[in-house]
Every structure is written in C-alpha cells, then in structure tokens.
Amino acid sequence: MLRYIFRRILFLIPVLLGVSILIFAIIHLAPGDPAEALLGPSATTRDLEELREQLGLNKSLVTQYFTFLTNTLKGDFGRSIRTNNPVLEELLDRFEPSLILAVLSMTLAIAVGIPLGLLAALRQNTWIDTSCNFVALLGFSLPGFWLGLMLMLFFSIMVPILPSSGYGTWQQLIMPTLVLSTNTTAVIARMTRSSMLEVIRQDYIRTAKAKGLSGRLILARHILSNVLIPVVTVAGLHFGHMLGGVVITETVFSIPGVGRLIIDAIRFQDYPVVQGGILFFAFCLSLVNLGVDLIYALLDPRIKAQYRAG
C-alpha cells in the first residue's frame, strides 16, 4: 500500500511537468503584453523595452521556460509583475480562504447529501422520495450567484443577522459555504439515491436478509460501503473543483480566494502568478485524486488488492 502511494506521488512529476509546459505555452501564445498592461497606454517605447528587459520577456520562449522551470524546482515561483510580491507567498495567502471554504462546503454537502439520498431510496416512490428529488433538482439548477444574492438579501438586508461579505470571522463563512455546497449536495444526494437503489436489489442484500440480520445492521454493514463507492468519485471531483477556487462565490461575497487571484492575474497578464497558480492547482487536484483512490481502497477490498498487485 505504501509502495502504491509512493508510486503515485512519483507519477506526479511527469503530470506537473506536462502541466507546466501547457500553461507556459498557452500564456505566451495568447496575445497581449504584460509590460503594456502594467505601464498603461501612455508609456513610451523606451519604458516598455526597459520593463521587458527587466522582466526577462525579451529572451526566447525556451530560455524563459527553463528559467521558470529551474526556479520552480528551487521553490521559487518568481514575483508577481503587478505587486512584486513572491508568487508562492501570495498563493498561500489566498489559498487559506479557499481551502477553508472548500472543506466546510464539502463537509456540509456530504452531511446533508448522503442522508437525503439514502432516505429517498429507502422510501422510493413515496412523497418523501419525491420531495428529496425536488430539493435536489432545485439545488442543482439554482445558479450560485443568484442564490448568493438572495441569501444576502434575506440575511443581511431584510433580517440583518449575517455580514453580507468579506472574510475573517466565522459569520462571514456561513453564506458562502451554503452557496458553494448547494450544487454538490444535490449531486451527492442524486448519486447516493441511484447507487442505493442499485445496491438494495443485489443478491447479497437478500442473503443478508435471509440471515435474519436487523435492518439497521444491513444498512450500516452491507449497504453503506457499497453505496459510497460511486459517491466518493463525484465528491472528489467536486472537492478538487472547489479547491481550485470558485470565482463566482468568491466574487459575490468578496472573499480573497485563490480563484479571484488567478482571474485577476490573467486579466493583468501577470505571467508568474498565472503559471504558479495553475501549477499549484494541478498539484492539489492530483493530491485529491490520490485521496479519492485511497478511499476506494478503504471501501472496496477488490480495489485494494489491485493496488497491492500493481
């Protein structure tokens, strides 16, 4: 098992290398010039030349890439063209709100979505099932920005009990967490329901019933881990997406998250921040994927056996 984890981590190297080439190419092939963006339309050609020289933008692309790569390997992502702060520092600063928000939203989505899905499946074709499905459909279709604005309208303006935006206190986290988790909760609930409906029709559940086990034991021991396998996949994908920063939620609630950092950096053609940020995402996503695969192994001994053999 440890060997498997080690191999997976080793496998990160080519992935990240590929990602770095891809981002570098896309950024530099895109039209626009950070020097122009920084100095504005009034800058003289001389000023522009000077700044390009200073930023290393006049060298060949290959040289620029290798400078970027070697610096990155040394842990130096360079400095932001816009603020002149070290990129890594800026990223880690902005990552904290995103991480906290993602963890809270995911926890909420799992805590609500899974029981909702189980309940719907156990009461299939009753009004409980129908209402669970309706709530899930609603959660899936409501756009985040609209939900955010509505929440603000209710809880910050009509009944002012929560701060409308910003980051720093726990009260400021409540509405963004709700908004961010809604969609994931809905997806997890639907996934749990369909997976559950499939599992309870399996022969081994009939075997468990024929053994005279109690319904609760059958649910906890025989059904749950089988139900969770596909749910974990979906939850992992959503969590990776959340870690990458959720620009809309961050924008609506003015949270200084990593998503907004990157969008701003792209707008200002702040190459080092974009490169560092996307590389950082790729790294986080790979770790989340590894985590998901390890949870699979925990849930299903057949998958664990494959890891051992591989």
């Binding site: 075997t207 468990a208 053994k211 005279g212 109690s214 025989h222 299903d300 001994p301 057949r302």
Partner: protein
Amino acid sequence: MAALLSVNDLCVKYKTFEGIVHAVNGISFDIPERGTLGLVGESGAGKTTTALSLMRLIPAPPGIVERGKISFGGRDIHALSEAEMKKIRGNQISMIFQDPMTSLNPVLTVGLQISEAIVAHQNTSEREALKRTQEMLEKVQIPSARHKEYPHEFSGGMRQRVGIAMALACNPRLIIADEPTTALDVTIQAQVIELMRNLRQEFSTAMMLITHDLGVVGEVCDRVAVMYAGEIVEEGSLEQIFEDARHPYTTGLFKCIPDIEEDSSQIQPIMGLMPDPFDLPSGCCFHPRCPSCMEVCRVERPAFLRENGRTVQCHLYAKGGVTQ
C-alpha cells in the same frame, strides 16, 4: 408425525405494470423433520418464489402472497411479527442461494459474513462466534485461516461452500437450497452435492432442494415435487417418481435425460415453451405441450389425485380417464 414444514394452497402473485404474474398457484407440500424434498421444474416454474415465500422474503411490492398457509414447527409463518420472523431466518430456516458470485457481499470478509449470522441469533461473544465460524469453514473444507479473506479471493465452488457454511452456522432445522449447483461447473457440482449431503446428515437438518437437475435430486432427496407453471403437478417418493412417473410432464422431463446405454438421438425434448405467467392457459396448464392432451384438459383444471402417498394432478388418472 406432524411435518416440520407444511405448505397449504400457497398462492403468490407479482403485480407489475404489464399485468399480474401468476408465479405460484395453489401449491401444497410437507417436509418432515430431517426429510429432503426436491422441488424440480424449468426456469420460471415458480420454484424460487416458493422458496422466498417460506422465508417471507418475497419483495413487496410487487409481490403479494394472495392466500395459503405456511406453518413451520407448528407456527403459522404469516401470523408472526417481523421481529419473530427475523429470529427464524438464518437460525431455524436458512437459505443457500443460486449464484455464489453475487450472493456474497464483495466488501466484507467471508468470516464476518458467516459470524454475523451466529452473532445475530446466538448469545455469544464475537470471539466464540469467530471460533464457530472457523469450525464451519473447516467443515466445508476451507482452511479456517482464510476467514479473513474476501469473496473475490475464492473460486465459485469455494464461495458456494462459504454459502453452505453460512447456512449451517446456526444449525437450522430447515435448509432451502435454491439451485445451489446451477452456477458451478460439473466437477465442482459433484463435490458440492456430496458435501451438502454429508453435512445435512451430520447436522440432521431437513432440506428443500430446488433444482432443474433430476440427477441432483436422485443423489440427495427422498421426496420429489415437480413444478410446472406455478403448480405442483406431481409429488411422490424418489422411487415413485423415478421408477413410475405418472404425469406427462414428469415423464417428459425424464425423456430429456440422455441415456448412456441408448443412442443419443433418443433424447426427446418437451416441445413448446412454459406458458406466459401473465396469461396462463385454461384447464390444465400443461395441455398445450402435452402429448396425451384430451378434450377435458383444455377446459377443466385437473383435481389432485392422492394414492399411496403420492399426488398427481392430471386428467389421465381421474375417474373416467385412461388408466394405465
């Protein structure tokens, strides 16, 4: 002697969108203590539905037990509460299922799947249950150390032996084996049959063996009931059915078995198909396929004729019919 299990006029239907499936239509049979009954019939004859209704495990909806009485050890199964029924399932009546590949939970160790039945029914510690589990594994010829392994680490035959260990773990009074060898290859079938026969004797358990394989019935059972389209068309002792089958369906089944001493071209399949359970034929259900079909067979359902401890449901043997 009162029978251990007594089924009287059991009728089970499934209500589906397409219509009503008449799965079991008024069957009656008894199994005495330590007795073995073979329930024989083609796929779709209602054998598994019969088995599940004895455990009260018919999925409802869509299944409905319309009428009939099942008494086990003198108690009316349908009058029991769900809690009392749970005490019987796996403890007094247990079941061996058809497909060992799907009837074990893939994410739990086989040891746990056996011991949980013991823990559920007997007032024992986990440790004692584990000890008993290991004994049971040895009894079905699986090394007891393998209790920690998962179903995917066993072959089909071994999984079925795990299923047998599971069924016998609480020393039940009745085992229902639902086509226990159908999913296994032939050499493994023989081993599993041998094992079941020996263990049944050792544990002195009664058994209902559901199968479409008359050879298996001949090995294990002392009574045979032949099912067709949800009815038991003939029932009798092993000798009566094997030596002197009465019902045209039963004789037809025997003609389907190749005889090693005769030319293989002698196999005579029963022509036609099982009737559609949505729309059973009038009169005797077997009449569209029956080689000895008479006028009366098309309109009138034959009565049960009992003599010398055997039953046959066929107009040929009714008063005024052709007697052999």
